[in-house]
Amino acid sequence: MAKLDLIDIRKTYPKSDLETLKGINISIEPGEFLILVGPSGCGKSTLMNTIAGLEDISSGEIRINDVDVSGLAPKDRDIAMVFQSYALYPNMTVRENMAFGLKIRKTPTTEIDAEIKRVSELLQIDHLLDRKPSQLSGGQQQRVAMGRALARRPKLYLFDEPLSNLDAKLRVEMRTEVKKLHQRLGTTIVYVTHDQIEAMTLADRIAVMKAGEVQQLGSPYEIYNHPTNMFVAGFMGSPSMNFVPITVLENSDGHACTELTGSDGKAQLLALPDKLKTYVGKKLMLGLRPEHISQQLSHHSETDLISAARFNIEILEPTGPETIAQITINDHAVHCRLAPDLSITAGQDLDLMIDVSKASFFDPDSERNILL
């Protein structure tokens, strides 16, 4: 178990004008599971490669247990990595794959055997030890790749989109396996993915990246409920957060509110948190997650921040556990989560409940969350 500190990591590729990494600062505690998430090309894989030492950094420091390793070769950093393509050595058996790193480090044979026994039992691959990678299924190869990383007991584990080559069902299974493994071994893990569900389910903390910068670093709860900007808000969650442009008003009681216009052109009032009173007359971006708009729920009495409103249901998408409905607010398509057993058809009007107590509000120009 090790502590990892990334201090102002910058990276510019030769022959490129753009910085790929623009000053990354992240501290990872011993035993922490950190997930780097972001769209393609955001620099998350580059960052991982620089931690591993497979790519140089232009400036900054990478510290493992307070020792600067940024000048060290990959083999001297004591890091193991699991790759998206697994990268198992095709000419070696599963056993040899796992023993390779140990042999190079001149570990005694008896110790290697014991280590392979421990890891293969842990990952339930002990019956596959004498097979070649080509004789294994995708999920088994994935386990072997993790086994190879575990066998060396490195200070730090890096996972580079390890589950993206698996089919959907296996991916969910392996996700649970990874989580179990981390809970059992308590190792420090940096994990790259573009899958926001993986990020939410696995991470102790998530770093959302975009264009070489960390947009937000926080627990899954913080990232989901208190996104710092519209990019983070829109990236995490599926269906993603609805953004509705609003103008802040003040009602006759002196509370903040706004008008929502449906597809029929009728305006309905929506109560806003009183913190927004300083924004009266200004335009804001209201961020509402689909689950914050639902059918009328009897046990949720109408409180200050839960408003009732009637909208035309344009499209219904039943997913089984819930039904996603599309409505229009202020000329923007908005998704809401409805109960699956609600008897409505597309085109009908429905009384909905909008809960703004968990909504986010963004400045439309800077796209930053104004309440944080």
Partner: protein
């Protein structure tokens, strides 16, 4: 029903037509080999009296023995056996060394890119298009300076240098399809530059090694120009000896001996192709290594 049965009949007929044409082409193609074979087993009188494609009146192996051990090549009359071994002594090291260097070059160019490695590769590629004649004189001068003129070692060196362009190309194109992640994984496992080559890349290179060996063996064994220019009297390869044997005229021309010698000279390349040929197509088409 009617139309389907006709079309089947057409199919059958068309198929037989295709087979017929193919068989005919194969026959035409094999005819020279047939003539060589039957001629080599004929006696001198048989050749003069019979037709070119008739079978021998009497099957004799005299000309084979003569070609191997007693036929005259220029001034000596010891057959081609000595030259056969000359060729073996030249081909084996030249093929092995050029293949190994090619593998190593390919590994570096594809997996350890350095500044200017693309330019380096382009220049290597350029070497594939250099005609033999272009390098004759400079190479002769260089061999002379190295003290390797007229030696087997010199010939090996020439073939290695000339062959490395091709072998590098083969291995580079094979390794470029090996995922970089394999090398990255090995680096993190602690393997260094040479360990990655020996323990990871080389063991998965069997198909391309076979391709390179067949290619190099065939072109070096069949080479005449370098052989005739750079070899000395006692290091001449078999192609040169075959030329001398055919051109040495002492009385009647012994076609049967010529044919036997030519077949002997061609046997090793045929053998290599039979043994390793199945890898040839496989190695050229398959590239990527799926984990």
């Amino acid at each position: 029903m009617h139309s389907s049965s006709t079309s089947q009949g057409d199919n059958g007929l068309g198929r037989w037509l295709i087979y017929g044409v193919l068989a005919l082409m194969a026959l035409v193609y094999l005819l020279p080999l047939f003539v060589m074979l039957v001629t080599s087993f004929k006696t001198g009188t048989d050749i003069r009296t019979g037709s070119l494609i008739s079978l021998p009146q009497e099957w004799v192996t005299d000309s084979w023995q003569a070609a191997w051990g007693t036929a005259c090549t220029g001034v000596t009359c010891d057959g081609i056996k000595g030259y056969f071994w000359n060729s073996i002594k030249m081909v084996v090291p030249a093929v092995l060394i050029s293949t190994f260097i090619g593998a190593f070059n390919g590994y570096v160019i594809s997996k350890w890119r350095f500044k200017g490695s693309d330019l380096f590769f382009s220049l290597m590629l350029f070497g594939c298009f250099l005609p033999f004649q272009l390098v004759l004189l400079p190479m002769a001068a260089m061999l002379g300076k190295l003290g390797l003129a007229n030696t087997t070692t010199g010939l090996v060196l020439v073939h290695v240098i000339y062959g490395v362009a091709f072998t590098t190309l083969f291995f580079r194109n094979y390794y470029i399809n090996v995922p970089d992640e394999l090398v990255k994984a090995a680096k993190l496992d602690g393997a260094g530059f040479f360990t990655i080559f020996w323990a990871i890349l080389l063991p998965i290179s069997k198909p391309i090694i076979m391709v390179t060996i067949i290619w190099q063996f065939t072109s070096i064994w069949n080479d005449f120009l370098f052989g005739v220019v750079y070899s000395g009297a006692d290091s001449q390869p078999i192609t040169v000896a075959l030329n001398n044997l055919v051109n040495t005229s002492t009385g009647v021309k012994a076609y049967n001996v010529d044919m036997a010698a030519a077949i002997i000279a061609a046997l090793p390349t045929l053998l290599v192709y039979f043994v390793a040929g199945k890898y040839f197509v496989r190695g050229l088409t398959a590239g990527s290594v799926k984990g």
